[in-house]
């Protein structure tokens, strides 16, 4: 498997999921809440989109399941799957952010009078 199926630049949904996982493993709904919080409500991941994107990231080996890495606090939590970034995922994210920041720099030079 490769990241053949991940279009570049990464879609906002994918980007936000990867970012949400930088702090450590989270379950799906926590990813969604984190993404909404960080974007101040700009990004609203709907359930279908969220899990479809997660599956895509799993397939592309950017994210892995992290069942053992967490400590469920109650029974309900135990049913949830946790996801964590893979090394590859971290690398792709970093590349993407670098690319984006270069793009942002370039955009600034165009907008601000030299």
């Amino acid at each position: 498997m490769s990241d053949l199926w991940l279009r570049r630049p990464l879609s906002p949904a994918v980007l936000h999921i990867l970012l949400a996982l930088t702090d450590g493993p989270r379950h799906g709904y926590a990813i969604k809440q984190e993404a909404e919080l960080r974007s101040q409500g700009q990004v609203r991941l709907k359930p279908g989109t969220l899990y479809e994107a997660i599956q895509r990231l799993l397939d592309a080996d950017l994210v892995r399941e992290a069942r053992g890495d967490c400590h469920p606090s109650n029974g309900q939590e135990a049913q949830r799957r946790y996801y964590a970034l893979t090394a590859r995922g971290r690398k792709v994210l970093r590349q993407e952010i670098e690319q984006l920041s270069r793009f942002v720099d370039y955009a600034h030079t165009k907008l601000e009078p030299a």
């Binding site: 199926w5 379950h27 799906g28 709904y29 969604k32 709907k46 359930p47 279908g48 989109t49 969220l50 899990y51 479809e52 599956q55 895509r56 397939d59 049913q79 949830r80 799957r81």
Partner: protein
């Protein structure tokens, strides 16, 4: 709500659903909790968002899933290619909404019409009854050539004849019954119900068990058996509220306590009989001439209809040999077995077949139209096709594109057509005359109709696709891509094909128009028929006196008293009772003329009507010679009769009938001689569309008593307004006496003409649809032809053609096509005239006036359809036309 969401999740591939369902639902629930505060609009928005989310992500998952399993390079599977074709087709059709709408609508009309007619054919002819193997249930009919050529199925056989027939091996378990009416009480009010008087158990041949209880036991059917009854399902539901405890209880039939032993299943409504009671007679002791029994049997296992008929002809010959000397009517008499369904539906079968043919034409026209539209489109897309061919696309791939489009159109048309049929069927079922409804048959959309509609859809798709597919795959990329040619050569073949289709459409439309026109003329002729009496302001009803209460002279005393009382009531002009009245005359009898041996020993028959004194005044039938009946024509007075002109001229040609004497019957069973004292004008007494039959009228008091008579009351004004007066007078004589079949004479006549009206209505509708479709087709082809020839027209205008020349260029073309279509259509009508002739009245299938009207209408419609394109052609600016491209 969450359940609905779970249903939506079915859109995902299974593996995805299994993995994420719990989490998706949890996330959904959390979202929904947040959305709840946003009011109804917020809720709707929330659901739309969720729906789009599921659809979009499921689509992405599936697409990816499909690729995940495939190897590289991705080679598309057949199914994928197909789904691509379908998506392409959807886009094409959405992009041309007018074309799609016209196509779907015309197919919907045609398929819907076919489905409705098929529902009728299925419900009334193919599968009207729900008992097992209906084809094997047969009825025995008899024909007595000495009396009439008519073959009778219902009330056709006498019990001694039944005993002869019951010896046969190829038919078993006969249901034998007489029909009559009985008053039933034990409920809120007395009611007159159609009754079967069973000689054998009525369940026998139908092989359906009673809904409740049992059938008749042999002991109950024997003479002197107990009073028992079986009720029809509808009577049980309607009158006794479907109470199952009715079985074993007692109801009163004509005043006698009778115990109910069984309930018929709902599928079994034999001839509309609601009440079954034993006939209670010994068949061997019944007279041979009392042929009022109906026989229904089932073909024995392994026996065929032909075997049964062979056996019956042997039996008929044996009976004739044994009894022919005593009963002369047995000479060359015939017995026959006919499937029960066929015998019952004899009358409507023919018109059903006609309808089927007509509506099939509509479907063909719709297909031709669509085919033509697609041909036009495939020409404009010629380059696209050529490019794709040149780039190496397989020809079948291109054909598949087109097929996908046609299939989608047909599918949409079929679905819309079914909806149309579903909506339109009840209205048409209401048009069915009530005498068919009493048989318990009706038309409905069932599995067979759905299957037929599917077949129509597939068939029409195949028909539609054939020409465009052939045309498009034949495209030659080399020619089509040459810049100058614009695919001109193949445009010309396409145009030729489309001209052919237009001619076919016109021809089919002509045949339908001819049908509609002929039925219209037929109906007009029937309406114009002088019935020989004045139907306005006459109220009719049937009165049947129960035999338990009225016997002998009491019967005629009741009727005479009723007539006398009503005659003095305000608003009544004239009143009479009679055993039958025009336009229907079911009762006929054989008779002989005194002093004249019947030629070749066969007895003539005539309608025989028992009538009270004022009968001719009530109907306003003029007296031609002699006198009317008077109060003097009583029981002990000399026997008299009045005949109609048809009788007088048939049996006494060239000399007066007055003074001649006739007798009814023959042999031992002969009446006293009656002297003819009057001749009245003819009425249409065998239906409005048949010539008047010879008829004999005899006075009420001089005949064997008849406990069932019709009351006819002529009023000063609205006949129906007299009903309370009539009821009041009847109640004054006998408060328990019901009346039924209350109708005005005008309603009776309207019901009689209905059979001629229905085909006219349906053919009219079909013809209108056909005409519209043909007009659309002509318009489409001509518009296309004008745009294809725009340069040519430009050149013509440039070299001096004026507007009229250009107009004629287009209209002339249309007229040529129309003339060709008309000739073919008229030839087709001529070929089909045999099928329609029997359904027409006093108009020939190739009626010149109808032909003229059809030619006129069709020509006008064709010219109107071509007018817009022709007008556009006249506005062609030569400079622009020659410059473009």
């Amino acid at each position: 709500m969450t359940r609905l969401y779970r249903v939506l999740l079915a859109l995902y591939p299974r593996w995805f659903r299994e993995r994420y369902e719990a989490e998706l639902v949890e996330a959904f629930a959390a979202e929904r909790a947040r959305a709840e505060h946003r009011g109804p609009i917020g809720t709707v928005r929330f659901w739309i968002e969720m729906l789009l989310d599921v659809v979009a992500s499921a689509y992405r998952t599936r697409r990816r899933g499909a690729r995940r399993v495939s190897t590289q390079p991705p080679r598309r599977s057949f199914m994928e290619g197909l789904s691509q074709d379908v998506r392409h087709a959807v886009r094409q059709l959405v992009r041309q909404p007018v074309f799609s709408a016209v196509a779907v609508l015309s197919l919907a009309l045609a398929i819907g019409g076919n489905a409705i007619i098929f529902a009728f054919v299925d419900g009334f002819v193919l599968h009207p009854f729900a008992y097992p193997e209906p084809d094997r249930v047969v009825t025995i009919g008899s024909t007595f050539p000495r009396m009439s050529d008519e073959e009778r199925f219902v009330e056709a056989i006498s019990l001694p004849e039944y005993l002869d027939i019951s010896r046969m091996r190829s038919i078993e378990s006969f249901a034998v019954f007489d029909l009559g009416n009985r008053n039933i009480s034990g409920g809120d009010r007395p009611e007159r119900v159609f009754t079967g008087l069973a000689v054998t158990d009525p369940f026998g041949p139908f092989r359906l068990p009673p809904a409740l209880g049992r059938g008749f036991a042999p002991g109950e059917l024997a003479p002197g058996g107990p009073d028992v009854a079986i009720l029809s399902h509808r009577l049980w539901r309607g009158r006794f509220g479907g109470d199952p405890s009715i079985v074993g209880r007692s109801v009163r039939v004509n005043g006698r306590p009778t115990s109910v032993v069984g309930i018929m299943p709902p599928e079994l409504l034999i001839l509309g009989v609601d009440l079954w009671i034993p006939h209670g007679s010994n068949p061997e002791e019944m007279p041979r001439r009392m042929r009022q029994f109906t026989l229904v049997g089932r073909l024995a296992d392994g026996a065929s209809l032909a075997e049964a008929n062979a056996e019956l002809s042997v039996i008929a010959a044996q009976t004739a040999a044994s009894y022919g000397a005593e009963f002369e009517e047995y000479e060359s008499w015939r017995l026959s077995a006919t499937p029960w369904v066929e015998a019952l539906m004899r009358d409507i079968r023919g018109s059903m077949q006609l309808m089927r043919g007509a509506v099939a034409f509509v479907l063909l026209i719709a297909c031709a139209n669509l085919s033509s539209l697609l041909l036009a489109r495939s020409t404009t897309r010629q380059r696209e096709m050529a490019v794709r061919l040149a780039l190496g696309a397989a020809r079948w791939r291109i054909a598949r594109h087109l097929l996908a489009e046609v299939a989608l159109l047909a599918l949409a048309g079929g679905a819309a057509g079914l909806l149309l049929a579903y909506a339109g069927l009840p209205a048409l079922v209401d048009l069915v005359p009530p005498q068919l409804n009493t048989l318990g048959v009706t038309a409905a959309i069932n599995g067979r109709v759905l299957a037929a509609a599917a077949l129509f859809t597939i068939g029409s798709a195949a028909l539609v696709a054939v020409l465009p597919v052939l045309q498009s795959t034949r495209a030659n990329p080399h020619d089509a891509l040459k810049a100058e040619s614009r695919g001109a050569t193949s445009a010309r073949t396409t145009l030729r094909l489309r001209h052919g289709l237009i001619v076919a459409e016109i021809a089919l439309a002509v045949m339908l128009l001819m049908g509609a026109g002929l039925f219209m003329r037929s109906l007009a002729n029937i309406r114009a028929v002088d019935p020989g009496f004045e139907p306005a302001n006459v109220l009719t009803m049937r009165i049947t006196l129960p035999v338990e209460k009225y016997q002998g002279t009491a019967i005629n005393r009741f009727f005479q008293e009723l007539v006398d009382r009503l005659g003095q009531s305000p608003g009544v002009r004239a009143v009479s009772v009679a055993s039958q009245f025009p336009p229907q005359g079911p009762f006929s009898f054989s008779f002989s003329i005194e002093g004249r041996p019947a030629p070749d020993n066969s007895l003539p028959t005539a309608l025989v009507t028992v009538a009270s004194t004022d009968h001719f005044e009530t109907l306003r039938v003029p007296l031609v010679a002699g006198r009317r009946f008077t109060a003097e024509d009583r029981e002990n007075a000399p026997r008299v009769a009045i005949v109609n002109q048809a009788f007088a001229s048939r049996f006494f040609p060239g000399r007066p009938a007055l003074g001649e004497r006739i007798r009814f019957g023959s042999g031992d069973d002969i009446s006293e001689p009656m002297q003819i004292v009057g001749v009245v004008a003819n009425t249409r007494n065998r239906g409005l569309s048949s010539p008047p039959s010879p008829e004999v009228f005899v006075p009420l008091h001089q005949q064997t008593v008849n406990n069932q008579l019709f009351l006819l009351v002529r009023s000063d004004g609205d006949a129906a307004a007299l009903l309370p007066v009539v009821r009041q007078q009847i109640a004054a004589l006998d408060p328990d006496q019901p009346v039924y079949a209350v109708r005005t004479l005008e309603d009776v006549i309207a019901a009689a003409t209905f059979r001629n009206e229905l085909p006219m209505i349906l053919f009219g509708v079909f013809a209108a649809v056909a005409l519209t479709l043909a007009a659309v087709g002509i318009y489409g082809v001509m518009s296309y032809a004008v745009s294809a020839r725009i340069q040519e027209i430009g050149v013509r205008v440039a070299v001096g053609a004026d507007r009229r020349d250009v107009l004629w260029l287009v209209l002339g073309q249309v007229l040529r096509l129309t003339a060709l279509g008309l000739s073919i259509g008229l030839a087709g009508s001529f070929a089909a005239s045999g099928a329609i002739r029997r359904a027409l009245f006093e108009v020939q299938p190739m009626d010149p006036a109808t032909i003229a009207a059809v030619v006129g209408v069709l020509g006008a419609v064709a010219l109107a359809a071509a007018w817009l394109p022709a007008a556009r052609a006249t506005r062609v600016d030569p400079v622009n036309a020659l410059r473009c491209e």
